[in-house]
């Protein structure tokens, strides 16, 4: 009989379903094949013209039916696709999931294509006044719903039969990890036996790209797109804007075993710590990120020595990678340079609100497959960051535990610890 409670007497949380979509493809099989082959999904932008833009590449998901329909429809489709894959794998009913939904998704706004078409359907007044005039005579709700922050989750709840008021959340680039954390916590508190946690982001619009560009957050290495994302390299110059989704079916180990489900991994611990230093920059001593890593380890009941692999946030911005290295070396000390630490973002770019969930999915697969995906484009190591980044080629390795980091604007730091076996 397996132990059903963790070191703090809380129900152990198992993963019984995993789904993922990135620029590398739909589903775990395609993604894993590409990821372990060191293949990049970064490509030139074709969704909108790139005139005047300093960044002209991205990891957009261009092959879905909603890919050209705007941020809300695409985010919905990404979320649903990952959720369907995860629920199917879990063996639960994809129309009657029966647990709460936690959705990490980007903040929504009225798309420019809608602004333009509403505005140009009338000629009275100017600016906002005209938009409001046109708005109040609209006869259907489609456009309205793209502007409601709760609508994507509401539609998912209808489609998947989740229970209760779905929670839509944002902790910026840590959102996906927070969605998982909320699911873990709900199960630990005994509020439910199962939860569906999704991170989805289809918001790579021209305006989003320009906003990040104006903050100097994006790479401008446009010439060879697949080489642009180079976490931990000396010549890294920003992240690659990307889209994707990840979904996990979380269940109490007890409930999962009782129904004979396959246990894909264990969500052992979650940790977070907010940073009060600056809106986009981290405290120079990396103490909040360090505290988040330590909180996740403590929550998991594991010591530093018991982490086999780190799935890094590794955005390829000068700032993040330096800060992440500092926090890891603070926690792991001498081990830091010799433990494998790789960044999926070298191949898929930064999927923003989805990143924490996508990378949790890949972390779980890393353990199941005993293969660590590489950090590609590691041709010019940053001498100030001495890490074993699993450079350029996958590595076969027994991985029993993973730390997955997610850090975001607004001082958001969330870390997850996952394990292969319940222990």
């Amino acid at each position: 009989m397996a132990n059903l409670n963790d070191h703090m007497g809380r129900p152990i949380v198992a993963v019984t379903g995993i789904g993922v979509v990135t620029s590398l493809g739909v589903g775990k099989a395609d993604n894993w094949a590409a990821l372990t082959a060191g293949k990049s999904g970064i490509h030139p932008i074709t969704r909108f013209p790139v005139d005047h833009l300093s960044t002209r590449i991205s990891g957009m998901v261009d092959f879905l039916a909603s890919s050209s329909k705007g941020a809300s429809p695409l985010t919905y489709e990404l979320a649903e696709s990952a959720a369907q894959e995860a629920i199917a794998e879990s063996g639960l009913d994809s129309g009657d999931f029966g647990g709460p939904l936690f959705l990490a998704s980007p903040p929504v706004e009225l798309d420019w294509s809608e602004r333009f078409s509403l505005y140009n359907s009338d000629s009275q007044d100017i600016g906002a006044e005209r938009l409001l005039r046109v708005a109040r005579s609209l006869k259907e709700l489609d456009i309205f719903e793209t502007t409601q922050f709760g609508s994507i989750a509401d539609r998912l709840a209808d489609r998947l039969g989740t229970r209760g008021l779905p929670i839509t959340l944002s902790t910026a680039c840590a959102s996906g990890a927070t969605a998982i954390q909320l699911g873990v916590e709900a199960i630990r508190r005994g509020e439910c036996d199962r939860a569906l946690s999704i991170g989805a982001d289809g918001s790579a619009t021209a305006e989003a790209l320009i906003r990040f560009s104006l903050l100097s957050a994006l790479t401008t290495h446009n010439d060879i797109p697949e080489k642009a994302s180079k976490p931990f390299s000396r010549d890294r110059d920003g992240f690659v804007l990307a889209e994707g989704s990840g979904a996990l079916v979380l269940e109490s180990l007890e409930a999962a075993l009782a129904r004979g489900a396959t246990i894909l991994g264990i969500l052992r611990g979650c940790g977070e710590k907010a940073d009060d230093f600056h809106r986009t920059r981290s405290k120079p001593d990396a103490s909040p990120a360090t505290a988040a890593v330590r909180a996740a380890l403590a929550d998991a009941g594991l010591s530093e020595d018991e982490i086999d692999y780190v799935n890094a946030h590794g955005t390829s911005t000068p700032e993040n990678d330096k800060m992440e290295h500092l926090s890891l070396s603070t926690v792991f000390g001498e081990r830091t340079g010799s433990m494998p630490i790789s960044s999926n973002k070298s191949m898929i770019g930064h999927t923003l609100s989805a990143a924490g969930a996508v990378e949790a999915a890949f972390s779980l697969m890393t353990m199941r497959e005993s293969v660590i995906p590489p950090t590609i484009n590691y041709d010019n190591p940053d001498p100030a960051i001495v890490l074993d980044v699993v450079p350029n080629k996958k590595r076969n390795a027994e991985v029993r535990t993973v730390l997955s980091n997610s850090f975001g604007f607004g001082g958001q730091n969330t870390c997850l610890v996952m394990a292969r076996e319940p222990v």
Partner: protein, 395 residues
């Protein structure tokens, strides 16, 4: 292990009525209080505008103020008030261990840039190129940060040093409901000892009105109390700028540091009625059943928005129980979206603490309440989706 009790030890409020819990309560107990209205700036819409605020009182650094637009300033300000009220502000140990759940929408866009692009779109067919051309040159780089949903929480961390954890829930009134529900669950289960929870809404911006009006939700024409807008021109919602933050605390934690307790937060309930399938009436009734209302006369602080269908459903559910005396506070403050439920819970706590109900806000639709409210119901039935309620009990 028995669950911990959740108490309210800090309240920060801003609305057109003023700022602070005391100022709000003094206004709300005045019989026949007239709402503060702004009927011309956004004609044909009426809004309840922000009062004059000295931001310096809660956001000491001008540099911090400049990094925010009004929505984030308002939330950061209301959060600071709640922290002050709970005796937490400036206490490093309490701030660094404090959790935070913020209910947020998005921040303000640059209306001038948007209007300029829209005007140019009338004579350009290459609108996507136009967009790139204008946005790359006219957008203020840091404006993005003032728009990001989670940067209200981010600013609260920076300005008030609340850094235990930081989560932002999105989704209109439902975000406020889930924020309070999750915060309470964390305390009950022993995950947290003290949490800052709340939200803010700044309606005096065309995009914030557009978010309702794309479905025709806004009331037009002469202002009316929230229960009297059925059949009037428009959709029934009159919005207001405001913010509400609460400090929720484990009872033992509050007692051990000798703090005043406003009230105890009882059960917090949430729901998602499938309204298109006509489930809203049953959904509200189910929440009222789950709340297990105490017997006898009950004061209800209703967050009803005025939206015709949702408000009619809530009114008929509340009217069906002759023991309930409802107060639709949107009559006086307007609808504050993500802040609506935290605001309702705050007013319920004030009624419990003052052992008095507010007089009716709308004599034609609300009945007097003469007793001492030991338990008060707070509601937020979303104008479009999601529903929530809570019971607030005497400390």
């Amino acid at each position: 292990m028995s669950p911990h009790h959740v108490v309210i030890t800090g309240i920060g409020l801003v609305s057109s009525l003023g700022e602070g819990p005391d100022a709000h309560w003094r206004k709300l107990v005045q019989p026949g209080l007239e709402p503060v209205l702004e009927a011309t700036r956004f004609r044909p819409y009426t809004v309840h505008p922000l009062p004059e605020i000295d931001w310096n009182l809660q956001i000491a650094k001008r540099g911090d103020q400049r990094q925010m637009e009004t929505w984030q300033r308002l939330g950061t300000y209301a959060a600071g008030m709640a922290l002050d009220d709970a005796g937490i502000k400036g206490n490093d140990e309490l701030c660094t261990t404090m959790d935070m759940v913020v209910a947020a929408g998005g921040g303000e866009r640059d209306e001038t840039v948007d209007a300029d692009i829209l005007a140019a779109s009338e004579s350009r067919n290459d609108r996507d190129v136009l967009l790139n051309e204008k946005l790359t040159t006219e957008l203020r780089p840091t404006l993005f940060l003032a728009q990001l949903s989670n940067l209200l929480a981010g600013n609260i961390s920076i300005v008030h040093k609340v850094t235990g954890s930081s989560r932002t829930f999105m989704g209109e009134e439902g975000a406020g409901v889930a924020a309070v529900e999750t915060a309470a669950a964390r305390i009950r289960s022993g995950q947290s000892t003290h949490i800052l929870v709340g939200g803010a809404f700044q309606t005096e911006h065309s995009d914030m009105l557009l978010g309702y009006e794309l479905a025709g939700y806004l009331h037009r024409g002469p202002w009316k109390p929230v229960w009297q807008r059925q059949g009037a021109e428009g959709g029934g919602v009159v919005t207001g700028s405001g913010g509400a933050f609460l400090v929720l605390e484990q009872r033992e934690h509050a007692i051990s540091r000798g703090r005043k307790i406003y009230a105890e937060l009882g059960p917090v309930l949430s729901g998602r009625a499938r309204r298109r399938q006509g489930e809203l009436d049953a959904g509200i009734a189910a929440l009222l059943r789950q709340a297990a209302l105490p017997s006898g006369e009950l004061l209800a602080i209703s967050g009803a928005s005025g939206a015709h269908a949702a408000t009619a459903a809530e009114k008929s559910a509340l009217d069906a129980n002759p023991a309930i005396a409802a107060r639709g506070f949107s009559t006086l403050t307007g609808h504050m979206k993500e802040a609506q439920f935290p605001f309702a819970v705050a007013l319920a706590a004030l009624a419990v603490e003052h052992e008095a109900a507010c007089p009716v806000f709308d004599a034609a639709n609300e009945r007097p309440f003469n007793g001492i409210p030991k338990t008060v119901l707070a509601t937020a039935i979303g104008y479009h989706q999601f529903e929530g309620m809570a019971l607030v009990n005497a400390a």
